[in-house]
C-alpha cells in the first residue's frame, strides 16, 4: 500500500511538481513574512542594546529629559570615575558624552536622514556594550583626535557623500554648534547591522565635552563594564552604593528597554500589523495548499476508487493519501523555507528603498519561523489532503470508477451553513464593537467580527459565487461564443475549486483595499487636523521639534509684512514624579498669551505668569485639578509645584494640556530655545516665504512652511508606514496570483482528456487558449469583486472604529482602488498564459488516452 502510494506520487511528475510548488509558495510566504517581521523588530532593539553598558550611571531624572527628546544640561561629573573604577565588580569605566539633534549636512547642504530617525553626537570610545556586545568599531581610517577630527557611521557618510579626508558640516538646530571637522574614520558594526537610518557623529572626549556639554569636565553617563562572572544586577548594586546623592545606576538591560520603549510603542502599529499579516499569510498559504490538494485528490479519486475496488480499506486509502501528503509537505516545506529567505531579502530591499534602512540588518531566522514553516507545509498539507480523501471515501467505488465523479452536493450546503453561521456571529460582533460604547476592548470585538465575516464569506463563497459565475458565464458565452460558454461552464463545474482559488486573491485584495482606505483616511484626517489647527500664515519648526535660537524668531518679527510672531516652547516632565505618567508641557511668553484667544472656563487667562499654568478643560477634569490647585511635576532640575490660574477650552493651537511661561521652563532646566513659531503676515505681503527662508538659510534643520507644506510633513511618517504595508501586500497578491496559476495549471492537467477530445472534434489551439484565459479572468474577477466589496466594508468599518483616535475622516481612494482592480484582472489574464500554452500543446491522441 505504501509502495503503491509512493509510486503513484512519482508517476505523476507534473502533478507532483505543481503540488509541491503550492506548498513551497505557501511556506515561503509565511517564512518570509515572519523573518522580515523579526528582523524589523530586532533592528530596533539591537540599536539600543548596543548603546548601553552593563551598568549605566546617570543623573536622577535624566530619563525625563531623554523622553522629551529635549537636550538636557544634566551631567555626571568626571570626578566620579576613580571611585567607580575601584569597585570590585567593575572591569572598566567609560565616560560617555551623547547628544541628540546633532545633524550631519550632506555635501549638498541638506540634513542627512531628513525628518526621520534621530541624529546623535558624542565622544568616541571603544567601551564594550552590555553583555560584552561589541559596539561600533572603526571600519576604515582611525579614531578622532583633537577638535578638527570626526568619525561618522558608515551609512551616514555614505548618504552624505563624504569620504575620508573631507570636511564635514555638523550643525545643531540652535546656532550653538556649527563646525567643519575632517572625516578621519568610518564606524560600523563588524557583523553588519545598522543604526536604522539614525546618524552618528563622534569626536574625541574633550571635543565632545566642549561641543555638547559647554566644556564641563563631565559626561552624560558612565558605562561601567562588569568583570567576568559579575552579573549586571550585582554590578549595579555596587555602583549604586558608591554614588553620591543625585545620581543613579541602572542595569544596561533596563536602560535599553527604557530607551527602546517609546520607539517600540511608536512602531507598535507596524509590529501589530506584521503579526496580523503573518496570520494572513498563513491563511492565504493554507488556501493555496488546500486548493491544490482538493484538485489532486478529486483527480486521483478514480485511482483511489480502483484501490478500494481491489479491496483496500477506507483507512488504507486515507493513510496512503496522508503518507503522500507528508512526503510532499516535507520536501515542499524545506524548499519553501529556502525561498522564504529569498523573499525576506526581497521585502527588506523593497522596504529599504522606501526609507526604512534595514539593508545592513542581518535577517533573523528564529526557531519559531522554522516551526511555523514546517507546521504550515506538513500539517496544512496533510489536512488538505485528508479532507478530499475523506470525501472520496464516502462515494461507492463503482461510482468513482466512472468517467467523472460528481461530488456530493451536501458538502457545499454544509459550507454555506458554516458561512452563514460565521456571518451571523461576525456581523453583530462588529456592530457591538462599533456602536455599543459600554463594552470593553471595542477594537477586539470589531476585529473578531471582521475576521468572522471574512471567513464566513470565504466558506460560503461557492454558493455566493454561483450566481456571479452564472452571470459571467452568460456574458462570456455572448461575447466569446462557444469557447466562452465552455469556459463559463468549466468555472461552474467545480464552484468550490473556482471560488477557493478566487478566495486567495479575494483576501489579498480585501487587505489591499482595507489598508488603502485606512491609509488614505489617515492622510485625510491629518490634512483636516492641519486645516483646523493651522492659524497664522507660516510655521517655523525644526525636524524633531528641537529648539532653535530665539534670535531667529526675533529677526523674523522684524521682516516687513510680518505682523506678529507667536512663540511656543516644549518641555517634558513626569506627573507627580510617576515614571509612567509623562507629561508634555507647552510654554509661551505671558505678553503674547492673548494671541492664542483662549477662552477661560474658570479662573482668568490674564493671571498667567511665571510658575503658573493654564490647563485644558478635559485634562483638568480627568486629573481633578481646578483653579488655585497645585500641579506637581518632576523636571530635569527636580520636582516643581505650579499653581493653576486658569482652565481653558480646548484649542488646537496649544499642543499639550499644560501651558506655562517661557521663563518657568528655563528655570526648570530646559534650554533657551523656541520650538515652534507661528508667523502672521499682512494679507498683501509678497515674497515673504523667500525672506523668511533667508533667515533660516544657515540652519538646515529649521524650516518655514505654509499650510500645504506643513500638512505634507505631518503626513510623511504615515506615508512611510503605508509604503511598507503596500510592499507586503504586493507580495500577498503576487502569491495569490501564483496560486491561481497553479490551480489553473492543475485544472488543465485534470482535464487533459477533455481537452484532447475538444481538439479531436476540431477546436483550434487558439480557441483552447482563449477558453483557459477566460476561465482565469472569471476567477480573477470573482476574487476582485469580492475583495473590493469586503475591502471597502472593512476599511470603512475600521475607520469608524478608530474615529476616536483622531482618524475622523473617511476617504476612499478611488483611483488607487481602480488601479488595484485593473491590475488584478491583468494578472488574471497573465496567470493563464502558462496553463493555456500547456493545454494548447497537448498531443491529441495522448490526451485522449490519458486518465
Amino acid at each position: 500500500m505504501i509502495r503503491a502510494s509512493l509510486k503513484s506520487l512519482l508517476a505523476r511528475r507534473v502533478r507532483l511538481l505543481l503540488s509541491t510548488f503550492a506548498i513551497v509558495l505557501g511556506v515561503a510566504f509565511v517564512t518570509g513574512i515572519l523573518m522580515f517581521s523579526d528582523t524589523v523588530q530586532r533592528s530596533f532593539v539591537a540599536l539600543f542594546d548596543s548603546t548601553v553598558g552593563d551598568s549605566v550611571v546617570r543623573p536622577v531624572n535624566s530619563d525625563v529629559a531623554q523622553q522629551g527628546a529635549v537636550f538636557s544640561t544634566q551631567t555626571v561629573p568626571a570626578s566620579l570615575q576613580p571611585d567607580l573604577e575601584r569597585l570590585p565588580g567593575a572591569a572598566r569605566v567609560d565616560g560617555m558624552v551623547s547628544a541628540t539633534g546633532v545633524y550631519v549636512l550632506s555635501t549638498g547642504g541638506k540634513v542627512v536622514g531628513g525628518s526621520g530617525p534621530p541624529a546623535f553626537g558624542g565622544n568616541w570610545n571603544d567601551a564594550p556594550a552590555g553583555h560584552g556586545l561589541e559596539g561600533l568599531v572603526i571600519l576604515d581610517g582611525h579614531e578622532p583626535h583633537g577638535a578638527d577630527e570626526v568619525v561618522l557611521d558608515e551609512s551616514t557618510a555614505d548618504r552624505a557623500g563624504y569620504e575620508l579626508g573631507d570636511k564635514v558640516s555638523i550643525v545643531t538646530a540652535t546656532q550653538t554648534l556649527d563646525v567643519h571637522p575632517t572625516l578621519v574614520g568610518i564606524a560600523g558594526f563588524r557583523e553588519g547591522g545598522s543604526l536604522n537610518g539614525a546618524t552618528y557623529a563622534a569626536f574625541d572626549t574633550p571635543t565632545a565635552q566642549q561641543l555638547f556639554l559647554d566644556g564641563k569636565d563631565a559626561y552624560t553617563v558612565f558605562w561601567v563594564t562588569a568583570r567576568d562572572g559579575v552579573s549586571q544586577e550585582e554590578l549595579t548594586e555596587q555602583v549604586a552604593a558608591a554614588l553620591p546623592e543625585g545620581y543613579e545606576a541602572v542595569t544596561g538591560d533596563d536602560a535599553a528597554e527604557e530607551s527602546a520603549g517609546p520607539l517600540l510603542s511608536g512602531i507598535g502599529f507596524l509590529t501589530t500589523f506584521l503579526l496580523i499579516f503573518a496570520g494572513i499569510a498563513l491563511v492565504v498559504s493554507s488556501y493555496i495548499i488546500v486548493n491544490t490538494f482538493s484538485i489532486l485528490v478529486a483527480q486521483r479519486s478514480r485511482e483511489l476508487a480502483l484501490l478500494r475496488a481491489l479491496g483496500a480499506s477506507k483507512k488504507q486509502v486515507i493513510r496512503s493519501v496522508q503518507l503522500e501528503a507528508f512526503a510532499v509537505g516535507l520536501v515542499g516545506s524545506t524548499l519553501g523555507l529556502g525561498l522564504g529567505v529569498v523573499l525576506a531579502m526581497g521585502i527588506r530591499a523593497l522596504v529599504s528603498s522606501i526609507g526604512l534602512d534595514l539593508a545592513h540588518q542581518p535577517l533573523i531566522l528564529a526557531p519559531r519561523t522554522v516551526l511555523a514553516a514546517f507546521a504550515t507545509g506538513i500539517v496544512v498539507t496533510m489536512v488538505a489532503a485528508w479532507l478530499p480523501a475523506r470525501r472520496t471515501g464516502r462515494i461507492a467505488p463503482v461510482q468513482a470508477l466512472r468517467d467523472d465523479v460528481a461530488l456530493p452536493e451536501s458538502s457545499v450546503r454544509r459550507r454555506l451553513l458554516l458561512g452563514v453561521a460565521l456571518l451571523a456571529a461576525g456581523i453583530p460582533l462588529a456592530l457591538v464593537g462599533l456602536f455599543v460604547g459600554a463594552v470593553p476592548h471595542n477594537g477586539w470585538w470589531v476585529g473578531a467580527g471582521v475576521l468572522a465575516v471574512l471567513l464566513g464569506v470565504t466558506a460560503a463563497s461557492p454558493v455566493i459565487g454561483r450566481p456571479f459565475l452564472r452571470a459571467t458565464g452568460a456574458v462570456e458565452a455572448r461575447a466569446f461564443g462557444p469557447m466562452g460558454r465552455l469556459a463559463g461552464q468549466n468555472s461552474l463545474r467545480n464552484p468550490r475549486r473556482t471560488t477557493a482559488t478566487a478566495s486567495a486573491l479575494m483576501i489579498g485584495l480585501t487587505l489591499a483595499f482595507t489598508v488603502a482606505i485606512l491609509g488614505s483616511s489617515a492622510k485625510a484626517s491629518v490634512d483636516k487636523a492641519v486645516e483646523d489647527n493651522f492659524i497664522g500664515d507660516y510655521v517655523v519648526s525644526s525636524a524633531f521639534g528641537e529648539g532653535f535660537s530665539p534670535a531667529i524668531t526675533d529677526r523674523m518679527a522684524e521682516i516687513d509684512g510680518v505682523t506678529e510672531v507667536l512663540r511656543q516652547r516644549y518641555g517634558f516632565g513626569l506627573l507627580g514624579g510617576d515614571e509612567d505618567d509623562g507629561l508634555s508641557i507647552v510654554a509661551t511668553a505671558p505678553e503674547t498669551i492673548g494671541d492664542f484667544h483662549l477662552k477661560a472656563v474658570a479662573g482668568s487667562v490674564s493671571d498667567f505668569a511665571d510658575d503658573t499654568v493654564l490647563l485644558k478643560e478635559d485634562w483638568a477634569d480627568d486629573h481633578d485639578l481646578g483653579v488655585g490647585d497645585t500641579l506637581e511635576v518632576t523636571l530635569p532640575t527636580g520636582a516643581k509645584k505650579w499653581r493653576v490660574v486658569g482652565v481653558v477650552e480646548d484649542s488646537p493651537l496649544v499642543f499639550s494640556p499644560v501651558l506655562t511661561t517661557t521663563q518657568t521652563l528655563l528655570d526648570s532646566g530646559f534650554p533657551d530655545q523656541d520650538n515652534y513659531v507661528v508667523v502672521f503676515a499682512d494679507p498683501g505681503a509678497t515674497g515673504l516665504q523667500e525672506r523668511l527662508d533667508a533667515v533660516v538659510e544657515d540652519l538646515p534643520v529649521v524650516t518655514v512652511k505654509d499650510q500645504q507644506a506643513f500638512a505634507a510633513e505631518q503626513r510623511a511618517p504615515i506615508d512611510r508606514i503605508i509604503g511598507i504595508i503596500y510592499g507586503l501586500l504586493f507580495f500577498a497578491v503576487v502569491i495569490a496570483v501564483l496560486g491561481i496559476v497553479n490551480t489553473l495549471a492543475l485544472s488543465v492537467i485534470e482535464r487533459t482528456r477533455e481537452i484532447g477530445l475538444l481538439r479531436a472534434i476540431g477546436v483550434s489551439r487558439r480557441q483552447l487558449r482563449q477558453m483557459i484565459r477566460l476561465e482565469s479572468v472569471v476567477i480573477a474577477v470573482l476574487g476582485a469583486v469580492l475583495g473590493v466589496a469586503l475591502g471597502i466594508v472593512f476599511g470603512v468599518t475600521l475607520m469608524y472604529a478608530l474615529r476616536d483616535q483622531g482618524l475622523e475622516r473617511i476617504s476612499i481612494p478611488v483611483v488607487q482602488l481602480v488601479v488595484f482592480l485593473v491590475l488584478s484582472l491583468v494578472l488574471g489574464v497573465l496567470a493563464a498564459v502558462f496553463p493555456a500554452r500547456r493545454a494548447a500543446r497537448l498531443d491529441v491522441l495522448r490526451a485522449i488516452a490519458a486518465d
Binding site: 466512472r402 468517467d403 465552455l486 468549466n490 463545474r493 476540431g762 485522449i848
Partner: protein, 245 residues
Amino acid sequence: MTQEGAVAARVQHLTKTYGTGETQVVALDDVTIDLMAGEFTAVMGPSGSGKSTLMHCLAALDTADSGSVMIGDQELTVLKDKALTRLRRDAIGFVFQSYNLVPTLTARENILLPLSIAGRDPDREWYDAVIATVNLADRLDHKPNQLSGGQQQRVAVARALVSRPRVVFADEPTGNLDSASGAEVLDLLRRSVDEHHQTVVMVTHDPVAAAYTDRVLFLADGRVVDELRDPSREQVLETMARLAA
C-alpha cells in the same frame, strides 16, 4: 450527400512505425485502401494489428511516416495543424471507444458542440433527423453522468453526425457496451448510412457487429490481409478462424 461509387477516403502506401531499433514496431506496413462513399466499412484484426493507428491517420488525429491520406480530394499529409483542425471540425466525425463527452455539457450541448465551435447554426432538418435517428429526444437535457453507456455512445455518434462530415470514424464504438446497447449503436450507424448516405468506418472485434456492415477489411501485423463484401456473421467468423490459424 456523397455520391455513390465515389471514394470518400483513401490511403496509399501508408506506413507507420513506433520506436527504434529492437523495440521498433511496425504499426502500419504499406497499407492501401479505398473507402467508398455511402458505405459502412468494418476494420477487423487481432489486437495490435494497427486498426486504431489506421483510424487515427485517416481522421487527421495522427500522421504517418510515409504514404498518402486523402479525405475526399483533400490530401492530408501536406496540411498544417490549423488546416487539419478545420478538417476535423468540418469533414470528419470521430466516435471513441470510451464515449468522451464533455462532462459539463448536456447531451444536446455535446451534440451541437462541433457546430458551435465552428460558429455554425445547425441545419434544422438534419439536426432533427439526427436526433430522431439516435432516439434520445427525452434525454437531451441530461448531463453525461446521468446517461447509460449506450446512451452516452449514441450521443457521441450524434455528435459525430451533426456536422454532416464526409466520413465518420468509430474505434470500437461498442467495445464498452453490453450487446443490447451495442445493437442500438450499430443500428444507428447502419441507418445513418442507409437513410442519409453517410460514410462510416468502424473498428470492431465483434463478428455480430461486422455483420451490420457492407464490407470488412482484415488487418494483421499492419497489413490488409483479407476482405469480405456484404458479410454474414458466419463468414466473418470463418475468415477470422482462417487468419488465426
